[in-house]
Structures are given as structure tokens and as C-alpha cells.
């Protein structure tokens, strides 16, 4: 039912003869009107990289301001900066990051399909994403919103005086892009798998994207309705969240976090998929507990819907509700812990080489662990009561969302760079950047745990002078981190022209995507592959491996 078998009529030619997707056509309209998932992935990559640096710019200003208690920016400017940093980083970088780029590029390749199920919808998704990006940039250029990325009512509806309407609309429109992309992935993974590619043979990256798509598809509409009602209330001055008319200001938070808590998992699940690809490849052994990893992914996706009010323990919700959400939060931590243990044990009896993607992946595991255990602390009710809204929370979610997710993003970028461009990246520089990221990140965010427990509140442009040393340390770390994040842009750009040419399978990996030439031809597979094996058939003893369609490669 769910399987395609295509023997294209003119499939006699060897695959190498077909031009790659990069060179097939070279007009501007061939890019802007393309239906090729690989080209759309690159379009998304361009948009997302742009927004990453816009959001990063805002973060730089914030850290500059916080280097001294007196600050550098006007309070109004600082408030707008952290709001725009949050909005841009969450909706314009983290949520679309891995799914729209590597998901778009590699899902069809990994399941042996020629394209996503709805290529036009995929392209439309990119245009809608850019439209919402224009709206958010408009809001930013006009002066930005000053509500925090969470838009808590009634501050956002009646009291804030920035461009809240534009920012909320940007989020609303952005939701359509998420929905279109995730819908495409769900249907594609259900319907376009190659023969033999059963569910338990899917690479874990595909599972990661599948679980995240399900979450996006079911959580985004609630946020859409929520921001829509917010926009209505902002424009007409009264509405569903208006306490002066008997509305409940906390309802906004419920509906917001119904989306935005799963959104945290939207950011982390694809990264987990990436790490599950990278670690077996560089450890040269099968992933430890494939089925457990799949169950854990789906369990996280499912449980993520039951934990949202842990953002609201002190918001005035019923205490019984608080207890329930705390319990569910502990539950969702269990599959996350399983994944960490499985990744770690996946190194056991491997034959590990420490290339840049592997360094990023190991960094991911460590940072995710720290983010995870502090998440455990935040799930514990009395500690959350204490540190809620302080830098402890900031540090915690940056460990997950920046430490872990962005590390995974860079791991994926380096791991698949030869496949996407056909060129190697410079290994030495990449290792240096990976280590620099890890050092800079910890230096930036670990002091914030201490600041948080000391009681430094988030979203404050100033702080008591006796906390300056920690803040200065954090700002210093941020400058290292900025270099570490900008560095790949330079050497990857360099490698586009001067990089060494890569063969089809430079890492000797097992996925179907490596069976294609690098860069892949326009329509991927000339002949639909038949899958005979589960993924990750590496053998550390022999140094050999078997790709998923059954070709074995000796050392």
C-alpha cells in the first residue's frame, strides 16, 4: 500500500550521465520556480542562514548591553532586541532549521523517492516563509515589538507600544509554512517509501523528521488561532484575553504553550535524528537499540503535548494542575534520558574517528545532558517556583535549543556538505570551529545558571552591580561563540570553489542518500532502489559496511 515501485522507461543510462541538480538548469527562474526538493532546501538554507545572523545580531547587542550594569542600549531598544531575538531565533531559525533544509534535502533521498509528495506546496512553503520573514523584518525595522517572544496578554494587547501586530502576524503566517512543510513530510513518509523500506528500516533521521512533522501539524493550528485572536484583540482593543471584560489572561498562556512547548521538541527531535545518523557513521557500529530510539522519539513527540503548563507553575494555575504537569514533565524526561544513554553506549566497541561532525555530535550529547538535567530541576515544582523567569531558565533552554540544536545543525551541515555540494569542507578548520563552539557556548551560558539561582531576572536591561563578573564572563563567551558560528560560513563558502571534490560516499555511510553521486542528479534515483537491510550495518571489527540496498563494501 505504502510503497512505490517505479522503473522509469529510460533508466538504462548510468546515473553519472545525468546532470546534478545544481547544474541541470541555471536560470534564475529555474531556481525561484523549482519544484526540486533539493533546490528548495538550498533556498530555505539561504533564508534561514540570513535570519540566524539577524537573530544573532540582536543577541550580540544584548550581551554587549549586559556586560555592564549601566548598559549600552536604551531600555526600549534592549526590550525590543530580546523580543526580536526570541521571535526570529525561534520561528525563523530553530523551528524550520533542520526540517526545511536537511529534511527537505534528504527525506526523499533516504526513503528512495524522487521528490516530496507535493513539490508545489513545498515551494509555496518557502515563499510563505519569506513573506512572514518580510513581515517580521518590517516589524524589526519599524522599531520592533517589546513584549518578549511569548506575547503575554494583556501586555501585548493593551499596553505594549511596539509593532506587536506585525510581529504576531509574522508568527501567524510563519505557521502556514510550518504546516505545509510538515504535511508534506508526513504524507511523503507514509506514501513514497521505496520497496523494502519498512518502518523499522527507516534511518532515525527520517523518524526524527516524521515525529516532528506530526507535532508541527497538530500543535501549530492552536498557535495560529491564538495569535489570530491576539491580533484581533490588539486591533479592536477587546477580545478573548481581556480581563476587563471577564476574559482570562492565562488562557493566552495555555494556548500559547500548547504550541510552544511542543515547539521545543520541534527544535530538538530533528537534531536527535541527525545525531543518530552521525554517531554510528563515525563510530562504525550500528546504533545501540534502534527500536528503543524509535519508541523514545515517538514517546517524546506524544508526551510533549502533556507538559506545556510547566511554563505556568507560578502563573496562577490550579496547584493540582501544576502537580499533573510536573509528573508529565518527569515522564517526558525518561525517553530523553534513554536516548542519551543509547547514544553514549553506541560508542562502545566502535572504531571512533573524531571528524568535525562527530565532534559536534559529542558536543551535542554533553550539552543536551546538561540541558536535560537542568530541565529535570525545572520540572521539580519548588525549584521552578524559585528560578522561573530567571537566567536559570534562560541557560537551561539555551543549552537545549542553542547548545544541542545548533550543534546538531552544524553536525548535519558538515556531515552532508559533500553530498549537497560535491566538495569536502576543510577538516582542520571545521574541527577547530566545533571545539570553539563547545568552549564558547559553555562559557556563555554556564554562568547564567549561577546568575539565575542568585535571582537575576530575565528580560532586564540592568542588574545589581555585584553580578557583573558573571555577566562579563557570559558576554566574553558570547564573543567566542559568535566567532565559532561565523567561521563555518567562511570556510564552507571557501570550500564551494576550492574544496576537494568528494566521491559519492566519502564517509562510507550506509544510507540510501550515499548511493547517489555527489551532488545528486535532478530526479534522484534513475531506478527506484529496493531496500533489503536496516540502517547502520557497520562492522567495527572488519571496518566494512553494507548499504541499505544491500551492497557490501569491504575495508
Amino acid at each position: 500500500m505504502s510503497v512505490t515501485t517505479v522503473e522509469r522507461a529510460a533508466a538504462g543510462e548510468p546515473a553519472e550521465a545525468e546532470p546534478s541538480y545544481l547544474t541541470a538548469e541555471n536560470t534564475i527562474s529555474s531556481w525561484l520556480l523549482t519544484r526540486d526538493h533539493k533546490r528548495i532546501a538550498l533556498l530555505f538554507f539561504a533564508s534561514i542562514t540570513f535570519f540566524f545572523f539577524v537573530g544573532g545580531m540582536a543577541a550580540t547587542l544584548m550581551r554587549l548591553n549586559l556586560a555592564t550594569p549601566e548598559g549600552l542600549l536604551q531600555p526600549a531598544v534592549y526590550n525590543r532586541m530580546f523580543t526580536m531575538h526570541g521571535i526570529i531565533m525561534v520561528w525563523f531559525f530553530l523551528i524550520p532549521s533542520i526540517p526545511t533544509t536537511f529534511g527537505n534535502f534528504f527525506i526523499p533521498l533516504m526513503i528512495g523517492a524522487r521528490d516530496l509528495a507535493f513539490p508545489r506546496v513545498n515551494l509555496l512553503s518557502w515563499y510563505v516563509f519569506n513573506l512572514s520573514g518580510l513581515v517580521v523584518l518590517f516589524s524589526l525595522v519599524m522599531g520592533g515589538a517589546d513584549t518578549g517572544w511569548t506575547f503575554y496578554t494583556p501586555l501585548s494587547t493593551s499596553f505594549a507600544n511596539g509593532y506587536v501586530f506585525a510581529a504576531a502576524m509574522a508568527v501567524f503566517i510563519n505557521g502556514f509554512s510550518s504546516i505545509m512543510t510538515s504535511l508534506n513530510f508526513v504524507v511523503t513518509i507514509h506514501r513514497l517509501r521505496a520497496p523494502g523500506m519498512t518502518w523499522m528500516r527507516l534511518p532515525l533521521f527520517v523518524w526524527g523528521i516524521y515525529s516532528v512533522s506530526v507535532v508541527m501539524l497538530t500543535a501549530t493550528p492552536v498557535l495560529a488561532m491564538d495569535t489570530f485572536l491576539l491580533a484581533v484583540e490588539r486591533v479592536i482593543g477587546l477580545g478573548m484575553f481581556d480581563p476587563t471584560h471577564g476574559g482570562d489572561a492565562i488562557l493566552w498562556q495555555h494556548m500559547f504553550w500548547f504550541y510552544s512547548h511542543p515547539a521545543v521538541y520541534i527544535m530538538i527531535l530533528p537534531s536527535m535524528g541527525v545525531i543518530s545518523e552521525v554517531i554510528p557513521c563515525y563510530a562504525r557500529r550500528p546504533i545501540f537499540g534502534y527500536a528503543g530510539m524509535v519508541i523514545a522519539l515517538m514517546a517524546i513527540a506524544f508526551l510533549s503535548f502533556f507538559v506545556w503548563a510547566h511554563h505556568m507553575f507560578v502563573a496562577g494555575i490550579s496547584i493540582y494542575s501544576g502537580v499533573f504537569f510536573s509528573l508529565m514533565t518527569f515522564f517526558v524526561a525518561v525517553p530523553s534520558a534513554i536516548k542519551v544513554f543509547n547514544w553514549t553506549v553506541s560508542l562502545h566497541k566502535g572504531s571512533i574517528s573524531f571528524d568535525a561532525p562527530m565532534l559536534y555530535a559529542l558536543g551535542f550529547v554533553l550539552l543536551f545532558t546538561v540541558g536535560g538535567v537542568t530541565g529535570l530541576m525545572l520540572a521539580t515544582l519548588p525549584i521552578d517556583v524559585d528560578v522561573h523567569g530567571t537566567y536559570f531558565v534562560i541557560a537551561h533552554f539555551h543549552y537545549i535549543m542553542v547548545g544541542a540544536t545548533v550543534s546538531a545543525y552544524f553536525a548535519a551541515l558538515h556531515y552532508w556538505w559533500p553530498k549537497i555540494t560535491g566538495r569536502f569542507y576543510p577538516e582542520g578548520w571545521a574541527r577547530f570551529a566545533a571545539i570553539l563552539t563547545y568552549v564558547g557556548f559553555n562559557l556563555t551560558f554556564f554562568p547564567q545558571f549561577i546568575l539565575g539561582y542568585l535571582g537575576m531576572t530575565r528580560r532586564s536591561y540592568t542588574y545589581p552591580a555585584d553580578w557583573q563578573s558573571w555577566n562579563l564572563l557570559s558576554s566574553a563567551g558570547a564573543s567566542i561563540l559568535a566567532v565559532a558560528y561565523a567561521l563555518p560560513l567562511l570556510y564552507l563558502g571557501w570550500s564551494l570553489i576550492w574544496g576537494r571534490k568528494a566521491g559519492p560516499n566519502p564517509w562510507r555511510a550506509t544510507g540510501l542518500e550515499w548511493a547517489l553521486p555527489s551532488p545528486p542528479p535532478e530526479h534522484n534515483f534513475a531506478r527506484t532502489p529496493t531496500v533489503t537491510l536496516e540502517p547502520y550495518s557497520y562492522d567495527p571489527e572488519e571496518g566494512s559496511f553494507v548499504t541499505q540496498e544491500g551492497t557490501s563494501h569491504a575495508r
Binding site: T4, D115, L217, T218, P221, M225, V232, M240, H245
Partner: protein, 216 residues
């Protein structure tokens, strides 16, 4: 019908049947999302109706019951004509298919017409928050929440219906005229029919939520 009119499957599909099946799955995935979108809105309604039953009942007395009921009938009937149109497409009855689809479109426009007239009556009754609103005795300050819901819900529903009409017109004026809807492949119509019926379902819930509260 000339053979060239039968479309070939797109590059990522093996057969037309697979393409059609996938498209239908796509619209169902989209409806998951739509269900939750409207469901979240109706949740806010349930919540506030639960908190302020008296205020809601008083405020909702001014809704125009006959408009809502006529529109219920119109929309349910349009769902039927849509289905009959697709049946005709499946049987290759081109003329009949066009007739039913035109009727569907007309019913869609009739709904919008009645809705527009109802909006006009609401304006006369001073039920438009901010623009023209007068709190009725007994509805307190919470009664206006009902009217905010009313405008948001009916407005969003109307936008969905307009989209549906646009899609049917696109079929009539473009795809069908070019002879692309054949018994071998009429999935676009099938997909639009599913969407159209969903818009109908939304109204099934809005009808009691808006018009029946506060009668009796």
C-alpha cells in the same frame, strides 16, 4: 475524450492511482490541522460560555436565527450537490458534473449573500463590537466576548468558504474546460469535495454555538 487529456503521473509517483491516493491523504492531513484550528476557537467559546452563561444567553438573543438556519440548509445542500458533482465526474457525465458544480458554487454564493445580509442586520442591532455596539440589559461586560467570538468565527468560516468557491471556480473555468477531469483521474475534485464538506462541518458546530444559545 482525447487520450492526451489524461494526465501523466508526476515524477515522484508511479501511477495516477498512487498520486490520487496521496493527494487525498494530503487533504486529510491538512484537515487535522483545520480541525484543531477551529477546535481551539470553539474551546475559547466553551470556556467563556461556561463562565458567563447568563451573559452569553442574553447577548446571543440578538443573533438572527433565520439567517443561521437558512445558511445551515444552504450549506448542507451544497455539500450534497458537491458530492453529486463528483459522482458525475466518476461516471464520466461531463455535462451533469458541470451542472452540479455550478449549483454548488451558486449555493456557496447564496450562503455568503445571506451572511452579508445578516451582518447588515447585526449592524442595525448594534452587535458589532467597537464599530456599533450597545450592551443589552443583563449582558454585563462579558457579553461582548460572545460577539467577538461571533465575528471571528463567522469571518474565518466565510474566508474558508470563499476559498472553497474559488477552488470550484478554478475547476470549472480551467481544469474541466481543458478536459482534465476524467473518470480515470478526478482527484482534484475529490480533494476539493472533502474540503468543502469540512467547511460544512464547521458550520454544524457554529450553528448551535451561535444561534441556539439563549433561545427559549
Amino acid at each position: 475524450m482525447p487520450d492526451s487529456a489524461v494526465p501523466r503521473p508526476e515524477i515522484q509517483f508511479a501511477t495516477l492511482a498512487q498520486q490520487g491516493d496521496t493527494a487525498e491523504l494530503g487533504i486529510w492531513a491538512f484537515l487535522i490541522n483545520e480541525t484543531i484550528f477551529f477546535g481551539a476557537l470553539i474551546f475559547t467559546y466553551f470556556l467563556y460560555r461556561n463562565f458567563y452563561p447568563h451573559e452569553f444567553a442574553v447577548a446571543a438573543k440578538d443573533t438572527v436565527l433565520w439567517c443561521g438556519s437558512v445558511n445551515f440548509l444552504v450549506l448542507v445542500t451544497s455539500s450534497l450537490t458537491m458530492v453529486l458533482g463528483i459522482n458525475a465526474a466518476a461516471q464520466g457525465e461531463r455535462r451533469e458534473m458541470i451542472r452540479w458544480l455550478v449549483l454548488t458554487c451558486a449555493l456557496g454564493f447564496a450562503f455568503l449573500f445571506v451572511k452579508g445580509y445578516e451582518y447588515y442586520l447585526d449592524f442595525l442591532h448594534k452587535s458589532v463590537p467597537i464599530v456599533a455596539y450597545e450592551a443589552k440589559p443583563g449582558e454585563g461586560s462579558a457579553g461582548i466576548l460572545f460577539w467577538v467570538f461571533y465575528w471571528v468565527a463567522t469571518g474565518l468560516h466565510a474566508i474558508h468558504l470563499i476559498t472553497g468557491i474559488g477552488l470550484v471556480l478554478y475547476m470549472l473555468l480551467w481544469r474541466i474546460r481543458r478536459g482534465e477531469m476524467t473518470p480515470a483521474y478526478y482527484t482534484p475534485l475529490e480533494v476539493i469535495g472533502i474540503y468543502w464538506s469540512f467547511v460544512d462541518v464547521v458550520w454544524l458546530f457554529l450553528f448551535p454555538a451561535i444561534y441556539l444559545v439563549g433561545r427559549s
